[in-house]
Point group: D2
Amino acid sequence: MTGPALARCGYLGPEGTFSEAAVRTLDLAAGSDLVPYPSVSDALDAVREGEVDGAVVPLENSVEGSVTTTLDELAMGTPLLISREMVLPVSFACLARPGTSLADVTTVTTIPHAEAQVRGWLRRTLPSAAFIPAASTADGARAVRDGEADAAIAAPLAADRYELAVLADDIHDTDGAETRFVLAVPPGGTPPAPTGADRTTVAIFISDDHAGALLEILTEFAVRGVNLTRIESRPTGVAMGRYFFSVDCEGHLADARVGEALSALHRICADVRFLGSYPRIDGTKPEVRRGTGDPDFVDAEEWLRRLRAGEPT
Amino acid sequence: MTGPALARCGYLGPEGTFSEAAVRTLDLAAGSDLVPYPSVSDALDAVREGEVDGAVVPLENSVEGSVTTTLDELAMGTPLLISREMVLPVSFACLARPGTSLADVTTVTTIPHAEAQVRGWLRRTLPSAAFIPAASTADGARAVRDGEADAAIAAPLAADRYELAVLADDIHDTDGAETRFVLAVPPGGTPPAPTGADRTTVAIFISDDHAGALLEILTEFAVRGVNLTRIESRPTGVAMGRYFFSVDCEGHLADARVGEALSALHRICADVRFLGSYPRIDGTKPEVRRGTGDPDFVDAEEWLRRLRAGEPT
Amino acid sequence: MTGPALARCGYLGPEGTFSEAAVRTLDLAAGSDLVPYPSVSDALDAVREGEVDGAVVPLENSVEGSVTTTLDELAMGTPLLISREMVLPVSFACLARPGTSLADVTTVTTIPHAEAQVRGWLRRTLPSAAFIPAASTADGARAVRDGEADAAIAAPLAADRYELAVLADDIHDTDGAETRFVLAVPPGGTPPAPTGADRTTVAIFISDDHAGALLEILTEFAVRGVNLTRIESRPTGVAMGRYFFSVDCEGHLADARVGEALSALHRICADVRFLGSYPRIDGTKPEVRRGTGDPDFVDAEEWLRRLRAGEPT
Amino acid sequence: MTGPALARCGYLGPEGTFSEAAVRTLDLAAGSDLVPYPSVSDALDAVREGEVDGAVVPLENSVEGSVTTTLDELAMGTPLLISREMVLPVSFACLARPGTSLADVTTVTTIPHAEAQVRGWLRRTLPSAAFIPAASTADGARAVRDGEADAAIAAPLAADRYELAVLADDIHDTDGAETRFVLAVPPGGTPPAPTGADRTTVAIFISDDHAGALLEILTEFAVRGVNLTRIESRPTGVAMGRYFFSVDCEGHLADARVGEALSALHRICADVRFLGSYPRIDGTKPEVRRGTGDPDFVDAEEWLRRLRAGEPT
């Protein structure tokens, strides 16, 4: 295990969310006190204010895309670092109070992101049920328990927490859907050591909206053999057409090619916020292109040093 | 005016939303019957099924980013075309039933996107009020009228519709925030004629998740002098790391450089869905780089034809 | 055989040069009257003036590089087209008048390009012999016959023509050296039909000396999957730093990807002179990258036509 | 003056060549013993063997292009460094023995490169004179003095040395023609200090003939804002299609952007030979692109160091 264990770890609550399921897979949180927070912002603020030692929040979903609050909070809020990622298969169930049957359901509640992932099932199975948006899947389950709706779309584990029955399981429309979660911790201290199968997350703010800025950014990565695994454009809130880019790339800050690429972006962009290097949960090692491994950089730097000193090369 | 007027035009309702404000600025909808729909999907489905001749839905917001349902519906649902865009400044008000003062407010409701844009004001002004998510700003106003919450964050025009009072106006945190709306119409028929200040929207699906696919796509545009004004990566729902790109570029399908760029993408990508060429509401004409104007293409094609025919050039 | 046979074919003479050896391998010159010319310029002028139907001249040598007179004449002289290429292994012999031994040799003559390719042998074998530059290898052989020098470095076949003895054979320093020759013919008429293993030669003149012009040119080829097999920068004679690029690429003018690449260069460059598409003598077929074959272009053009006409795609 | 003065300085002779004119403009050779050598190779060998402290040889001519022997010797011979450049306008005269008139001239001699630059004048003025190639312009003048030809095309200063009369002056076809010379010195010791208006010369050997190698090389320069002022492809002598690139770029080895670009090439290429950083004789300072100046690199490296150390940035 790399990195210190967490005494207290927050997560996007309430109890029974997928975030809780994610934090329960996290090595660093084994034995931690787990603290649910009502929103991503609240969970991250709790880390900033020292209430917890880290917080698990969703970053992206293979069906619904990025969790924009998480991207924006990490990119523009008080700085935090990502030190772990978790990936969970998405498996939705339809929950109701015991005794309710599908035929009884006239209202369905869940967070809109979840609704989008079971829309096909809802149209086929509950075509006339009205949809009531909830703040989270778990909050939907709570609302059903409290009689505010007939059925909730939620993680199966929410059934136990809210004393509900499972009317139907595995109802998501797309097989293989996954959600990626990250552990955000306070900045400072050295990042997790490289494992050889790492990922690095950065937020890149461009100086102006000149066409071609994204092409320049991608070229800085590509020319050094650093592959991207995710790129999202996000508005900065200043004006239409003013973006930052939230980027995941292969490799670790300690890798020479990653370091040089980030330095280059720091030189040419308005701002680059480093958001962490951490082990990939899938353990995939990058294919290091000819001439871009650490020994290649060490050799090239020594060559350059000798040239500059007038020594034989 | 280019394009036929619409007898019936849908919009993202209910009455009093910013989408209604947008549709009221639309030349093609002057005199149209306006029909509110409860969701983006419903509004677009109404066009697909012929209930209305077009529908106005939000596409992106300068603070909150893209409206992902709109992007996904246009890219992956039954095909539609964009034939107009509208841009509206975002101006939020805090509405309550007459007689309510700010000191009385314990619950606030609105669509989460709107809540994000007034969060600073809420923390300063109503720090202890609980937030209740609503399906739209207008639905929040309705909920306040019906006594389900104390205050709603909505467009000022919702006050009239729902017989509410304005407790505070212009409460959004970021000045200059705007929302861009598009008019979606059925495919078929020729696109709006070029005006010289046009925008083109496409959805580009990559064949696989190979690193460098985005760089290739951007290069196809850049090499032909076509500037991008928006690019969003969106998951295709198949697996983490499988994206499509929702792109706006300068120029019109009828422009040679745009046509050749789209053809090139069609050749190298898994799929390219053309989503429309339409006049820019801001009237900005593109800077046409040396060698990329229509006469340059015409001249080059004639030159090539002569070479191939063995005629003097 | 593609293309018409030549009644009269010129070559870079005099008799006994490698150019004569090359023309003797040329299908189109089987049965032709062969006419030697004293210089590349004279041979090409003879084609321009109709004295001969074509002329074989050297274009590049794997040791000495391009034959700049050929490049410059084709790029900037009265237009001609290349319709064939020939490649010959370079094999030099040291020739002298019968009765001369190596020990007797005090002066050696040949064209400087040839001297460069046997310099190692000369330093080892004839370290004290003086070098006298000749206008061609064959002219050096003539000079030896006429008593102007003791030994000539030339093609072995020059021995017969000039009644010389071979003092040493295969004396070139680098194994595998080759010279590539081209057949230049008058422009007009259609180019040789594509064979599937073709090469295309062009001269590309940049508008100004802006840094990055070469990068732009290479990108136009690369983005369309057209590989280059030779690129040379050559001064235009206007000023230091003003270049044209002499380029060979894989494929044929009739190939869609080649045609589009050349059209693009025609659009953005000061001038592009097409110098011919002709069968590769080595028969190497290009690897056609995904999306860049002729059917891909045909399909993409039809797709674009349908989009523009408002037809279903 | 930067760099040590030279006690003895070689040049491409014989006396009266443009190289002698060039060396006479060189600050470092003021007061030096000047030693002519019969060939570029001999002059450079004299530096290698310590006979002279440096040698001046031509590198490129704005009409005839690169002097390939110089490029190849510097790239592939025993290493030397360039520490100065000189640029001379090309001005040719037609010289003959006193008493000879233009009407008497039946044979003209000079080095072929020079003949190419006065070809138009020769065709107009001496259309029936035969051309005899010489080893240098000065050697042509010597040959005329010795009665081996009637007229020589040479630098005006050769008239005095070889006791010839000037039949016609300024006879070159293209105005503004220039030749660039370089001073080659032994390697070792530190390069000349940066002046802010420097040029750097390198020879870049690619690993294989993969299409796209040149594009990669250009991209390494471009991405770091380093502009090229000359690029030549040259065969390596191994096989057709195997090249090295002889490149001049703006800036100095000591500049961060140049150093990083060269390091990158060292990583990805088969070999990079640094051939010197030296003041531009035209004093042109490079336009340093945003984010590529030395302070930008220093700042970015410190930022990276802090990130890696876990310190605040």
